[in-house]
Amino acid sequence: MSDPLAVTLGPLTLNNPILTASGTFGYGLEFTDFVDLAAIGGLCTKGLSLKPHAGNAPPRICETPAGMLNAIGLQNVGVEAFVSEKLPKLRACGATVIANVWGDLEDDYVTVVRALEGADGIAAVELNISCPNVRQGGMLFGNSPPLTRALVAKVRAATRRPLIVKLSPNAPDLVESARAAREAGADILSLVNTFVGMAIAPETARPRISFGTGGLSGPAIRPLAVRMVYQVAKALPGVPLMGIGGIAELSDVLEFLAAGATAIQVGTANFKDPGVSGRLVKELTDYCAARKTTVAALVGRAHRGGGRVGGAAGAEG
Protein backbone atom coordinates (compact mmCIF):
# COMPACT_ATOMS: atom_id res chain seq x y z
CA MET A 1 0.00 0.00 0.00
CA SER A 2 1.25 3.50 -0.75
CA ASP A 3 1.72 5.92 2.12
CA PRO A 4 -1.59 5.97 3.99
CA LEU A 5 -1.19 9.61 4.97
CA ALA A 6 -0.30 11.05 1.55
CA VAL A 7 -2.97 13.20 -0.06
CA THR A 8 -3.42 14.68 -3.49
CA LEU A 9 -5.23 17.95 -4.02
CA GLY A 10 -5.35 18.51 -7.76
CA PRO A 11 -1.79 19.33 -8.81
CA LEU A 12 -0.51 19.31 -5.22
CA THR A 13 0.61 16.14 -3.47
CA LEU A 14 1.46 16.31 0.22
CA ASN A 15 3.07 13.77 2.54
CA ASN A 16 0.19 14.19 4.92
CA PRO A 17 -2.87 16.39 5.34
CA ILE A 18 -1.74 18.39 8.39
CA LEU A 19 -0.67 21.91 7.47
CA THR A 20 -0.35 25.08 9.50
CA ALA A 21 -2.42 28.15 8.74
CA SER A 22 -1.16 31.49 7.54
CA GLY A 23 -0.47 34.06 10.22
CA THR A 24 -0.47 31.50 12.99
CA PHE A 25 2.89 29.90 12.22
CA GLY A 26 5.06 32.96 11.64
CA TYR A 27 7.51 32.09 8.89
CA GLY A 28 7.81 28.58 10.27
CA LEU A 29 11.24 29.25 11.75
CA GLU A 30 9.73 30.35 15.07
CA PHE A 31 8.57 26.74 15.54
CA THR A 32 11.71 24.73 14.96
CA ASP A 33 12.09 24.06 18.71
CA PHE A 34 8.67 22.45 18.74
CA VAL A 35 7.99 20.84 15.35
CA ASP A 36 10.05 19.06 12.71
CA LEU A 37 8.98 21.19 9.74
CA ALA A 38 9.67 18.32 7.34
CA ALA A 39 7.23 16.09 9.18
CA ILE A 40 4.10 18.16 8.65
CA GLY A 41 2.20 18.29 5.37
CA GLY A 42 3.13 21.89 4.80
CA LEU A 43 3.11 25.37 6.21
CA CYS A 44 1.41 28.51 4.98
CA THR A 45 3.52 31.61 5.46
CA LYS A 46 2.31 34.82 7.05
CA GLY A 47 0.50 36.80 4.32
CA LEU A 48 3.15 38.31 2.03
CA SER A 49 2.89 41.61 0.21
CA LEU A 50 5.26 43.18 -2.28
CA LYS A 51 6.63 45.74 0.16
CA PRO A 52 7.20 45.14 3.87
CA HIS A 53 4.03 46.07 5.73
CA ALA A 54 3.85 47.51 9.24
CA GLY A 55 0.38 46.30 10.22
CA ASN A 56 -2.09 47.85 12.62
CA ALA A 57 -1.42 49.72 15.85
CA PRO A 58 -1.64 47.74 19.10
CA PRO A 59 -3.63 46.35 20.84
CA ARG A 60 -3.98 43.83 18.04
CA ILE A 61 -5.34 40.76 19.79
CA CYS A 62 -7.72 39.86 22.53
CA GLU A 63 -8.91 36.65 24.03
CA THR A 64 -12.50 35.45 23.70
CA PRO A 65 -14.32 32.33 24.90
CA ALA A 66 -12.50 29.38 23.29
CA GLY A 67 -10.82 31.69 20.84
CA MET A 68 -9.36 35.07 20.06
CA LEU A 69 -9.85 38.16 17.97
CA ASN A 70 -6.98 39.55 15.94
CA ALA A 71 -6.38 42.52 13.73
CA ILE A 72 -2.68 42.18 13.04
CA GLY A 73 -3.20 43.97 9.76
CA LEU A 74 -0.96 41.68 7.73
CA GLN A 75 2.38 42.86 9.09
CA ASN A 76 5.06 41.09 7.03
CA VAL A 77 8.65 41.39 5.88
CA GLY A 78 7.69 41.67 2.21
CA VAL A 79 8.21 39.13 -0.53
CA GLU A 80 11.83 40.04 -1.23
CA ALA A 81 13.05 39.57 2.34
CA PHE A 82 10.97 36.42 2.58
CA VAL A 83 12.65 34.90 -0.47
CA SER A 84 16.16 35.95 0.49
CA GLU A 85 16.10 35.45 4.28
CA LYS A 86 13.37 33.00 5.26
CA LEU A 87 12.94 30.67 2.31
CA PRO A 88 16.51 29.26 2.25
CA LYS A 89 16.24 28.34 5.94
CA LEU A 90 12.84 26.75 5.40
CA ARG A 91 14.25 24.71 2.52
CA ALA A 92 17.12 23.60 4.70
CA CYS A 93 14.56 22.33 7.22
CA GLY A 94 12.84 20.34 4.48
CA ALA A 95 9.59 22.27 4.87
CA THR A 96 6.84 22.18 2.25
CA VAL A 97 6.18 25.89 1.88
CA ILE A 98 2.93 27.46 0.73
CA ALA A 99 3.24 31.19 0.14
CA ASN A 100 0.19 33.07 1.38
CA VAL A 101 -0.14 36.38 -0.50
CA TRP A 102 -2.33 39.46 -0.38
CA GLY A 103 -2.55 42.95 -1.77
CA ASP A 104 -4.59 46.12 -1.74
CA LEU A 105 -5.33 46.04 -5.47
CA GLU A 106 -5.57 43.30 -8.07
CA ASP A 107 -2.19 44.21 -9.47
CA ASP A 108 -0.55 43.94 -6.06
CA TYR A 109 -1.51 40.30 -5.87
CA VAL A 110 -0.19 39.68 -9.37
CA THR A 111 3.09 41.40 -8.63
CA VAL A 112 3.71 39.37 -5.49
CA VAL A 113 2.89 36.13 -7.23
CA ARG A 114 5.24 37.07 -10.10
CA ALA A 115 7.97 37.92 -7.59
CA LEU A 116 7.63 34.43 -6.16
CA GLU A 117 7.80 32.71 -9.56
CA GLY A 118 11.56 32.90 -9.64
CA ALA A 119 12.04 31.40 -6.19
CA ASP A 120 12.64 27.70 -5.68
CA GLY A 121 11.01 25.69 -2.95
CA ILE A 122 7.48 27.01 -2.98
CA ALA A 123 4.95 24.21 -3.33
CA ALA A 124 1.89 26.36 -3.89
CA VAL A 125 0.49 29.86 -3.62
CA GLU A 126 -2.45 30.63 -1.36
CA LEU A 127 -4.41 33.78 -2.19
CA ASN A 128 -5.79 35.51 0.86
CA ILE A 129 -8.92 37.24 -0.40
CA SER A 130 -10.54 37.04 3.00
CA CYS A 131 -8.59 39.05 5.55
CA PRO A 132 -11.01 41.19 7.54
CA ASN A 133 -8.31 43.35 9.11
CA VAL A 134 -7.22 45.76 6.39
CA ARG A 135 -9.12 48.81 5.16
CA GLN A 136 -8.88 47.88 1.48
CA GLY A 137 -8.18 44.68 -0.44
CA GLY A 138 -8.41 41.52 1.60
CA MET A 139 -11.97 40.52 2.37
CA LEU A 140 -13.42 42.96 -0.16
CA PHE A 141 -12.28 40.64 -2.95
CA GLY A 142 -13.60 37.56 -1.19
CA ASN A 143 -17.02 38.99 -0.45
CA SER A 144 -17.91 39.72 -4.06
CA PRO A 145 -18.01 36.81 -6.51
CA PRO A 146 -17.31 39.06 -9.54
CA LEU A 147 -14.24 40.58 -7.85
CA THR A 148 -13.12 37.11 -6.80
CA ARG A 149 -13.45 35.85 -10.33
CA ALA A 150 -11.48 38.71 -11.86
CA LEU A 151 -8.70 38.55 -9.29
CA VAL A 152 -8.26 34.80 -9.42
CA ALA A 153 -8.19 34.81 -13.22
CA LYS A 154 -5.41 37.42 -13.25
CA VAL A 155 -3.35 35.57 -10.68
CA ARG A 156 -3.96 32.28 -12.43
CA ALA A 157 -2.35 33.72 -15.53
CA ALA A 158 0.67 34.81 -13.50
CA THR A 159 1.71 31.48 -11.99
CA ARG A 160 2.06 27.86 -12.97
CA ARG A 161 2.18 26.82 -9.35
CA PRO A 162 -0.78 25.12 -7.70
CA LEU A 163 -3.16 27.92 -6.77
CA ILE A 164 -5.11 27.84 -3.53
CA VAL A 165 -7.78 30.47 -2.89
CA LYS A 166 -8.67 31.12 0.73
CA LEU A 167 -12.33 31.92 1.20
CA SER A 168 -14.04 34.31 3.57
CA PRO A 169 -16.67 32.99 5.97
CA ASN A 170 -18.06 36.52 5.96
CA ALA A 171 -19.07 36.27 2.29
CA PRO A 172 -22.80 36.75 1.69
CA ASP A 173 -22.90 33.46 -0.21
CA LEU A 174 -19.97 31.18 0.42
CA VAL A 175 -20.86 28.69 -2.29
CA GLU A 176 -21.04 31.45 -4.89
CA SER A 177 -17.61 32.70 -3.83
CA ALA A 178 -16.24 29.19 -4.01
CA ARG A 179 -17.68 28.65 -7.45
CA ALA A 180 -16.28 31.95 -8.69
CA ALA A 181 -12.80 31.14 -7.43
CA ARG A 182 -12.89 27.66 -8.88
CA GLU A 183 -14.20 28.71 -12.26
CA ALA A 184 -11.53 31.39 -12.52
CA GLY A 185 -8.82 28.79 -12.11
CA ALA A 186 -8.27 27.94 -8.44
CA ASP A 187 -6.89 24.42 -8.06
CA ILE A 188 -7.75 24.18 -4.40
CA LEU A 189 -10.00 26.13 -2.02
CA SER A 190 -9.04 26.68 1.59
CA LEU A 191 -11.69 27.65 4.12
CA VAL A 192 -12.20 29.41 6.37
CA ASN A 193 -10.46 32.62 7.28
CA THR A 194 -11.56 34.46 10.44
CA PHE A 195 -15.07 35.77 11.18
CA VAL A 196 -15.52 39.49 11.76
CA GLY A 197 -16.10 40.04 15.45
CA MET A 198 -15.76 42.68 18.12
CA ALA A 199 -15.04 42.91 21.80
CA ILE A 200 -15.62 46.01 23.87
CA ALA A 201 -13.95 46.66 27.22
CA PRO A 202 -16.82 47.25 29.64
CA GLU A 203 -15.06 49.84 31.76
CA THR A 204 -14.04 52.13 28.92
CA ALA A 205 -16.64 51.13 26.30
CA ARG A 206 -13.86 51.14 23.73
CA PRO A 207 -13.11 48.25 21.39
CA ARG A 208 -10.41 45.99 22.83
CA ILE A 209 -8.60 46.05 19.49
CA SER A 210 -7.38 49.32 18.05
CA PHE A 211 -8.75 48.46 14.59
CA GLY A 212 -12.25 48.23 16.12
CA THR A 213 -13.27 44.86 14.72
CA GLY A 214 -11.06 41.78 14.52
CA GLY A 215 -11.13 38.27 13.10
CA LEU A 216 -12.46 35.53 15.35
CA SER A 217 -10.55 32.24 15.34
CA GLY A 218 -10.04 29.21 17.53
CA PRO A 219 -12.21 26.28 18.65
CA ALA A 220 -15.20 28.63 19.05
CA ILE A 221 -15.63 28.80 15.27
CA ARG A 222 -15.11 25.11 14.55
CA PRO A 223 -18.80 24.16 14.19
CA LEU A 224 -19.25 27.01 11.71
CA ALA A 225 -16.17 26.07 9.71
CA VAL A 226 -17.15 22.39 9.58
CA ARG A 227 -20.58 23.36 8.29
CA MET A 228 -19.00 25.56 5.60
CA VAL A 229 -16.60 22.86 4.44
CA TYR A 230 -19.49 20.39 4.31
CA GLN A 231 -21.60 22.85 2.36
CA VAL A 232 -18.92 23.66 -0.25
CA ALA A 233 -17.94 20.00 -0.60
CA LYS A 234 -21.55 19.17 -1.28
CA ALA A 235 -22.10 22.01 -3.76
CA LEU A 236 -18.82 21.53 -5.62
CA PRO A 237 -18.01 17.82 -5.48
CA GLY A 238 -14.52 16.98 -6.67
CA VAL A 239 -12.99 20.35 -5.82
CA PRO A 240 -10.09 19.74 -3.43
CA LEU A 241 -10.59 21.54 -0.12
CA MET A 242 -8.40 22.45 2.81
CA GLY A 243 -10.39 22.79 6.03
CA ILE A 244 -9.48 25.45 8.58
CA GLY A 245 -11.08 26.62 11.81
CA GLY A 246 -10.46 25.74 15.43
CA ILE A 247 -8.55 22.54 14.84
CA ALA A 248 -6.62 21.46 17.94
CA GLU A 249 -7.12 17.72 18.31
CA LEU A 250 -7.18 14.56 16.22
CA SER A 251 -10.95 14.33 16.47
CA ASP A 252 -11.15 17.79 14.90
CA VAL A 253 -9.00 16.65 11.99
CA LEU A 254 -11.23 13.61 11.45
CA GLU A 255 -14.29 15.85 11.58
CA PHE A 256 -13.00 18.10 8.77
CA LEU A 257 -11.92 15.12 6.67
CA ALA A 258 -15.38 13.58 7.08
CA ALA A 259 -16.95 16.91 6.08
CA GLY A 260 -15.05 16.82 2.81
CA ALA A 261 -11.64 18.41 3.34
CA THR A 262 -8.67 16.56 1.82
CA ALA A 263 -6.22 18.43 4.02
CA ILE A 264 -6.50 20.74 7.00
CA GLN A 265 -4.65 23.71 8.47
CA VAL A 266 -4.05 24.23 12.16
CA GLY A 267 -4.30 27.88 13.17
CA THR A 268 -4.74 29.49 16.56
CA ALA A 269 -3.90 26.24 18.35
CA ASN A 270 -0.26 26.81 17.34
CA PHE A 271 -0.10 29.74 19.75
CA LYS A 272 -1.29 27.81 22.72
CA ASP A 273 0.47 24.60 21.89
CA PRO A 274 3.30 25.12 19.40
CA GLY A 275 3.94 21.39 18.97
CA VAL A 276 0.36 20.59 18.04
CA SER A 277 0.82 20.13 14.28
CA GLY A 278 3.60 17.56 14.66
CA ARG A 279 1.61 15.72 17.28
CA LEU A 280 -1.44 15.58 15.02
CA VAL A 281 0.62 13.97 12.26
CA LYS A 282 1.71 11.27 14.68
CA GLU A 283 -1.77 10.72 16.04
CA LEU A 284 -3.26 10.52 12.56
CA THR A 285 -0.58 8.02 11.54
CA ASP A 286 -1.44 5.85 14.53
CA TYR A 287 -5.14 6.20 13.85
CA CYS A 288 -4.82 5.03 10.24
CA ALA A 289 -2.50 2.19 11.21
CA ALA A 290 -4.81 0.93 13.97
CA ARG A 291 -7.78 0.95 11.60
CA LYS A 292 -5.90 -0.16 8.50
CA THR A 293 -7.21 2.80 6.56
CA THR A 294 -5.88 5.75 4.61
CA VAL A 295 -6.54 9.45 4.87
CA ALA A 296 -7.94 9.39 1.33
CA ALA A 297 -10.60 6.92 2.50
CA LEU A 298 -11.59 9.23 5.34
CA VAL A 299 -12.26 12.24 3.11
CA GLY A 300 -15.91 13.09 2.61
CA ARG A 301 -17.32 10.19 4.60
CA ALA A 302 -20.14 12.29 6.02
CA HIS A 303 -21.40 12.75 2.45
CA ARG A 304 -21.45 9.00 1.94
CA GLY A 305 -23.57 8.29 5.01
CA GLY A 306 -20.78 7.61 7.46
CA GLY A 307 -20.32 4.36 9.34
CA ARG A 308 -17.62 3.01 11.60
CA VAL A 309 -14.03 2.97 10.36
CA GLY A 310 -12.06 -0.23 10.07
CA GLY A 311 -14.77 -2.73 10.99
CA ALA A 312 -14.66 -4.34 14.38
CA ALA A 313 -15.25 -1.38 16.68
CA GLY A 314 -16.95 -3.29 19.50
CA ALA A 315 -20.55 -2.32 20.19
CA GLU A 316 -21.05 -0.29 23.34
CA GLY A 317 -21.99 -2.55 26.26
Binding site: G23, T24, F25, G26, E30, F31, D33, F34, K46, A54, G55, A57, P58, P59, R60, I61, C62, E63, T64, P65, A66, G67, M68, N70, I72, Q75, G218, P219, N270, F271, K272, D273, P274, G275
Partner: protein, 262 residues
Protein backbone atom coordinates in the same frame (compact mmCIF):
# COMPACT_ATOMS: atom_id res chain seq x y z
CA UNK B 1 15.96 25.63 23.64
CA UNK B 2 12.34 26.53 24.16
CA UNK B 3 10.06 23.71 25.17
CA UNK B 4 6.63 23.06 26.57
CA UNK B 5 7.20 21.81 30.11
CA UNK B 6 4.87 20.08 32.50
CA UNK B 7 5.12 21.71 35.92
CA UNK B 8 3.66 20.89 39.31
CA UNK B 9 2.66 23.51 41.83
CA UNK B 10 4.61 22.94 45.02
CA UNK B 11 4.38 26.16 46.99
CA UNK B 12 2.28 29.29 47.26
CA UNK B 13 3.37 32.26 49.35
CA UNK B 14 0.88 35.04 49.99
CA UNK B 15 2.19 38.57 50.56
CA UNK B 16 -1.20 40.22 50.88
CA UNK B 17 -4.60 39.44 49.39
CA UNK B 18 -4.12 39.27 45.62
CA UNK B 19 -0.33 39.36 45.73
CA UNK B 20 1.40 36.03 45.94
CA UNK B 21 4.13 33.80 44.63
CA UNK B 22 3.80 30.33 43.13
CA UNK B 23 6.63 27.84 42.83
CA UNK B 24 6.59 24.93 40.41
CA UNK B 25 8.67 21.81 40.05
CA UNK B 26 10.04 22.23 36.54
CA UNK B 27 13.70 21.16 36.42
CA UNK B 28 14.45 21.71 32.72
CA UNK B 29 13.09 25.23 32.73
CA UNK B 30 14.84 25.99 36.01
CA UNK B 31 18.15 25.08 34.39
CA UNK B 32 17.56 27.04 31.19
CA UNK B 33 16.06 30.33 32.27
CA UNK B 34 17.95 33.64 32.61
CA UNK B 35 16.96 36.70 34.67
CA UNK B 36 14.35 38.72 32.80
CA UNK B 37 13.04 35.87 30.72
CA UNK B 38 9.47 34.69 31.00
CA UNK B 39 7.31 31.65 30.45
CA UNK B 40 3.86 31.18 28.93
CA UNK B 41 1.64 29.50 31.45
CA UNK B 42 -1.43 27.50 30.47
CA UNK B 43 -4.00 27.72 33.21
CA UNK B 44 -6.39 24.82 33.61
CA UNK B 45 -9.61 26.79 33.61
CA UNK B 46 -13.03 26.81 31.95
CA UNK B 47 -13.82 28.44 28.61
CA UNK B 48 -11.50 31.29 29.40
CA UNK B 49 -8.58 31.90 29.56
CA UNK B 50 -8.15 30.38 26.13
CA UNK B 51 -4.68 31.74 25.56
CA UNK B 52 -1.69 31.27 27.82
CA UNK B 53 -0.47 34.01 30.11
CA UNK B 54 3.06 35.41 30.20
CA UNK B 55 4.84 35.47 33.56
CA UNK B 56 8.39 36.64 34.21
CA UNK B 57 10.40 34.04 35.99
CA UNK B 58 11.04 35.63 39.39
CA UNK B 59 13.63 33.11 40.41
CA UNK B 60 14.81 29.65 39.45
CA UNK B 61 16.70 27.07 41.44
CA UNK B 62 18.45 24.74 39.04
CA UNK B 63 19.53 22.49 41.89
CA UNK B 64 16.05 22.06 43.31
CA UNK B 65 14.51 22.13 39.83
CA UNK B 66 12.01 24.84 40.69
CA UNK B 67 10.84 28.06 39.09
CA UNK B 68 8.97 30.79 40.91
CA UNK B 69 6.61 33.49 39.69
CA UNK B 70 5.31 36.57 41.51
CA UNK B 71 1.69 37.21 40.68
CA UNK B 72 -0.87 39.92 41.13
CA UNK B 73 -4.49 38.85 40.92
CA UNK B 74 -6.14 40.67 38.02
CA UNK B 75 -8.60 38.49 36.13
CA UNK B 76 -9.43 34.95 35.22
CA UNK B 77 -5.98 33.54 34.79
CA UNK B 78 -4.60 34.88 38.02
CA UNK B 79 -7.74 34.03 39.99
CA UNK B 80 -7.36 30.46 38.79
CA UNK B 81 -3.72 30.42 39.83
CA UNK B 82 -4.67 31.78 43.23
CA UNK B 83 -7.19 29.00 43.80
CA UNK B 84 -5.29 26.14 42.20
CA UNK B 85 -4.78 23.28 44.65
CA UNK B 86 -1.23 22.22 45.41
CA UNK B 87 0.14 19.42 43.21
CA UNK B 88 -1.97 20.72 40.33
CA UNK B 89 -0.12 20.57 37.05
CA UNK B 90 0.15 23.32 34.49
CA UNK B 91 2.11 23.73 31.28
CA UNK B 92 4.94 26.22 31.01
CA UNK B 93 6.32 27.20 27.64
CA UNK B 94 9.76 28.68 27.90
CA UNK B 95 12.18 30.14 28.42
CA UNK B 96 10.93 33.00 26.30
CA UNK B 97 12.34 36.38 25.35
CA UNK B 98 15.65 38.06 26.06
CA UNK B 99 17.34 38.52 29.43
CA UNK B 100 18.75 41.44 31.43
CA UNK B 101 22.42 42.08 30.65
CA UNK B 102 24.76 42.14 33.60
CA UNK B 103 27.91 40.34 32.47
CA UNK B 104 29.44 43.40 30.74
CA UNK B 105 29.49 45.54 33.92
CA UNK B 106 32.76 45.80 35.87
CA UNK B 107 32.89 44.42 39.44
CA UNK B 108 31.92 47.10 41.92
CA UNK B 109 29.62 48.95 39.56
CA UNK B 110 26.40 50.30 41.04
CA UNK B 111 23.06 49.78 39.35
CA UNK B 112 19.46 50.81 40.03
CA UNK B 113 16.43 48.61 39.91
CA UNK B 114 13.04 50.30 39.65
CA UNK B 115 9.86 48.32 40.17
CA UNK B 116 6.25 49.45 40.21
CA UNK B 117 3.98 47.06 42.09
CA UNK B 118 3.99 43.59 40.57
CA UNK B 119 6.76 44.95 38.31
CA UNK B 120 9.03 43.62 41.04
CA UNK B 121 8.42 40.14 39.58
CA UNK B 122 11.56 39.61 37.47
CA UNK B 123 14.02 40.99 40.04
CA UNK B 124 14.79 38.28 42.60
CA UNK B 125 16.83 36.33 40.06
CA UNK B 126 18.45 39.52 38.74
CA UNK B 127 19.41 40.65 42.23
CA UNK B 128 21.03 37.32 42.96
CA UNK B 129 22.95 37.60 39.68
CA UNK B 130 24.04 41.14 40.51
CA UNK B 131 25.29 40.16 43.94
CA UNK B 132 27.16 37.20 42.48
CA UNK B 133 28.81 39.46 39.88
CA UNK B 134 30.07 41.66 42.69
CA UNK B 135 27.92 44.68 41.79
CA UNK B 136 25.87 46.79 44.13
CA UNK B 137 22.24 47.68 43.49
CA UNK B 138 19.71 50.14 44.88
CA UNK B 139 16.20 48.73 44.72
CA UNK B 140 13.39 51.25 44.22
CA UNK B 141 10.00 49.71 44.85
CA UNK B 142 6.84 51.76 44.36
CA UNK B 143 3.21 51.02 44.98
CA UNK B 144 -0.09 52.72 45.53
CA UNK B 145 -0.19 51.82 49.21
CA UNK B 146 1.32 49.61 51.90
CA UNK B 147 -0.56 46.55 50.65
CA UNK B 148 1.03 46.80 47.23
CA UNK B 149 4.43 47.05 48.86
CA UNK B 150 3.90 43.83 50.81
CA UNK B 151 5.85 42.09 48.06
CA UNK B 152 9.03 43.65 49.54
CA UNK B 153 9.13 40.64 51.87
CA UNK B 154 10.36 38.61 48.91
CA UNK B 155 13.43 40.85 48.67
CA UNK B 156 14.62 40.61 52.26
CA UNK B 157 18.37 39.97 52.21
CA UNK B 158 18.53 40.03 48.41
CA UNK B 159 19.45 43.68 47.80
CA UNK B 160 23.19 44.49 47.74
CA UNK B 161 22.56 48.16 48.40
CA UNK B 162 19.78 50.49 49.52
CA UNK B 163 16.07 49.63 49.36
CA UNK B 164 13.90 52.67 48.64
CA UNK B 165 10.18 52.33 49.09
CA UNK B 166 7.66 54.82 47.73
CA UNK B 167 3.90 54.86 48.00
CA UNK B 168 1.36 57.17 46.41
CA UNK B 169 -0.19 57.83 49.79
CA UNK B 170 3.07 57.98 51.74
CA UNK B 171 1.88 55.23 54.08
CA UNK B 172 5.16 53.42 53.61
CA UNK B 173 8.48 54.86 52.45
CA UNK B 174 8.68 58.10 50.50
CA UNK B 175 5.46 59.77 49.39
CA UNK B 176 4.80 59.96 45.67
CA UNK B 177 5.87 57.99 42.63
CA UNK B 178 8.88 55.74 42.72
CA UNK B 179 10.21 57.59 39.68
CA UNK B 180 10.33 60.76 41.78
CA UNK B 181 12.29 58.94 44.48
CA UNK B 182 14.81 57.93 41.81
CA UNK B 183 14.92 61.45 40.35
CA UNK B 184 15.73 62.84 43.79
CA UNK B 185 18.70 60.47 44.13
CA UNK B 186 19.94 61.36 40.66
CA UNK B 187 19.47 65.06 41.37
CA UNK B 188 21.54 64.66 44.54
CA UNK B 189 24.39 63.24 42.46
CA UNK B 190 23.98 59.47 42.74
CA UNK B 191 25.29 57.78 39.58
CA UNK B 192 24.36 54.34 38.28
CA UNK B 193 26.04 52.28 35.57
CA UNK B 194 22.69 50.88 34.45
CA UNK B 195 19.04 50.92 35.37
CA UNK B 196 16.66 47.98 35.18
CA UNK B 197 12.95 48.66 35.39
CA UNK B 198 9.63 46.90 35.29
CA UNK B 199 6.19 48.29 35.94
CA UNK B 200 3.06 49.66 34.34
CA UNK B 201 3.18 51.82 31.20
CA UNK B 202 2.62 55.14 33.02
CA UNK B 203 5.65 54.38 35.21
CA UNK B 204 7.77 53.60 32.16
CA UNK B 205 6.68 56.81 30.47
CA UNK B 206 7.63 58.84 33.56
CA UNK B 207 10.87 56.93 33.92
CA UNK B 208 11.86 57.50 30.29
CA UNK B 209 11.73 61.24 31.03
CA UNK B 210 14.13 60.75 33.96
CA UNK B 211 16.70 58.38 32.46
CA UNK B 212 16.86 60.13 29.06
CA UNK B 213 18.25 63.48 30.29
CA UNK B 214 20.41 61.64 32.84
CA UNK B 215 21.89 59.49 30.02
CA UNK B 216 21.41 56.50 32.24
CA UNK B 217 21.57 53.30 30.13
CA UNK B 218 18.36 51.44 30.87
CA UNK B 219 16.65 48.12 30.33
CA UNK B 220 12.86 48.16 30.59
CA UNK B 221 11.04 44.88 30.97
CA UNK B 222 7.91 45.70 28.95
CA UNK B 223 4.48 44.16 28.89
CA UNK B 224 2.03 43.72 26.01
CA UNK B 225 -0.94 41.43 25.46
CA UNK B 226 0.60 38.22 24.09
CA UNK B 227 -0.93 35.59 21.89
CA UNK B 228 1.97 33.18 21.66
CA UNK B 229 5.13 34.50 23.36
CA UNK B 230 7.55 33.36 20.65
CA UNK B 231 7.12 35.67 17.69
CA UNK B 232 4.46 33.80 15.75
CA UNK B 233 1.30 35.87 16.09
CA UNK B 234 2.62 39.45 15.92
CA UNK B 235 0.04 40.38 18.49
CA UNK B 236 2.39 41.89 21.06
CA UNK B 237 3.89 44.80 19.18
CA UNK B 238 4.99 48.07 20.74
CA UNK B 239 5.45 51.21 18.59
CA UNK B 240 9.16 51.76 17.96
CA UNK B 241 11.44 54.61 17.00
CA UNK B 242 13.67 52.71 14.58
CA UNK B 243 10.84 50.76 12.95
CA UNK B 244 7.08 51.00 13.22
CA UNK B 245 6.62 48.10 15.61
CA UNK B 246 8.80 46.03 17.92
CA UNK B 247 7.70 42.43 18.51
CA UNK B 248 7.94 42.55 22.26
CA UNK B 249 7.98 38.83 23.03
CA UNK B 250 10.90 37.90 20.81
CA UNK B 251 12.81 41.20 20.43
CA UNK B 252 12.00 41.91 24.11
CA UNK B 253 10.48 41.86 26.62
CA UNK B 254 13.54 43.81 27.72
CA UNK B 255 13.96 46.90 25.59
CA UNK B 256 15.93 50.08 25.90
CA UNK B 257 13.65 53.10 26.24
CA UNK B 258 15.15 54.94 23.25
CA UNK B 259 13.76 52.27 20.97
CA UNK B 260 10.22 52.75 22.19
CA UNK B 261 7.91 55.37 20.70
CA UNK B 262 6.34 56.84 23.86
Amino acid sequence: MKADHRATLTRRQIFSPGLFSVTFDCPDLARAVLPGQFAMLEVPERAQPYLRRAYSVADADAGAGTVEFLIKTIGRGTRALERMPERSTVRLLGPMGNAFTVADLPRGARVAIVAGGIGAAPFPALLRGIAKAGLSADFFLGGRNAKELSIRARFDGLVPGETVLASDDGALGEKGFVTEALARRLGAGTRYARLYACGPMPMFAALAKVVGPARLPSEFSTEAEMGCGFGACLGCVIPGTEKPFIVSCSEGPILSPEKIQW
